[in-house]
Subunit: 167 residues, 2 copies
DNA sequence: TTGTATTAAGAGTATTTTGTCTGAATAAAT
DNA sequence: ATTTATTCAGACAAAATACTCTTAATACAA
């Protein structure tokens, strides 16, 4: 797979946050519940995003995470790079280090053109755009094969969606 | 990484074989030596390719593996699918199972168009083409960071490149 | 001040991927 | 026949990745 699972989870969570009517602190429990991801694992993944200043976090009751910038100012590539590292768009199909036009392998040109298309796609897709689509279409973000456990269900039902700055 | 390491090794080996002047049995020792891959590991990888009828193998002295079809009749996609499975070109950026236009995620259209480009690239790149380029350009196939061990060096030096069908 | 809801940090476990090794089977060469 | 060079098959080990759990730190609420 191109992206690690951690990265997929992070992207899903980011889009979920961007799809909310307002930018507000959402508990990771709620996100994990909606997206059907392990809460503890998602917590660690989202820590990468807060450290990369893409999210801001707030501890204590009614805390959670929220987008640190405007959704229109965060690209899919930002999220991917924060979790999987910037090499995704630089490395090769064949994963060989230190290659380039000076010493290329036989697929170099085809691959680099492919890769730059991918990078362009990811940098031009903003969370705003993705969140909007997630709302407009009746769209699915997460893998829905496992049922929610009671704790998550509760967390989702109790989510108050309290806007940022109203506390 | 998009492709597993096994898959990368298999692709490299396939291109190496296609780059030879004639299609002939080459020992896996020689390939592993030239490409700087663990012999035993490459052996297992190439077994996938023989089982997929992309290679034919021959045991005993002067044995080895050779392309089972014309290099022009084997695509990069053939090799990739034989090792990593056919899902590579079907699965998603996000790796979610069973999704499609009926129940898409917000990035679906962008991704599927990307993915079909990739698939088209891989199915249209033949081993003949790649082998030819590997010869024309002074091209590198393998990761050259570790020195060869004596056994491999020997195997490479002793390679007789005996053509298929001359025994 | 005490209890509760939350993220932060990190140790620990499980699973998958990658790599190593050993012993067979096979066929050529001597 | 025996030795040698090779692939085949599969057990085993190591490393990377994915996931779980426990304990803190923080901040709100009663
Ligand atoms: S030369 Fe290009 S295609 Fe080949 S391994 Fe390097 S980056 Fe990839
Ligand atoms: S809907 Fe499309 S882009 Fe989204 S997860 Fe499925 S295949 Fe991927």
């Amino acid at each position: 797979m191109l992206l690690s699972k951690s990265c997929v989870y992070g992207v899903q969570a980011a889009i979920y946050m961007a799809s909310l009517p307002r930018n507000e602190y959402v508990s990771i429990q709620e996100i994990a519940g909606k997206l059907n991801i392990s809460f503890h694992f998602l917590t660690k993944v989202l820590q990468n995003l807060t450290q990369a200043k893409l999210l801001m976090s707030y501890r204590g009751p009614n805390g959670g995470v929220a987008l640190a910038r405007q959704a229109s100012d965060i690209s899919l590539a930002d999220v991917i790079e924060a979790i999987d590292g910037g090499d995704i768009f630089k490395e090769c199909l064949f994963g060989l280090p230190g290659c380039g036009v000076a010493d290329p392998c036989p697929a170099h040109e085809n691959w680099t053109s492919m890769r730059s298309r991918l990078q362009h796609l990811c940098t031009s897709l903003t969370l705003e755009e993705l969140g909007k689509r997630a709302n407009q279409l009746n769209v699915r973000l997460a893998n829905a094969d496992a049922p929610m456990n009671p704790a998550m269900l509760l967390a989702v039902m109790n989510s108050k969606n309290k806007p940022v700055g109203t506390e």
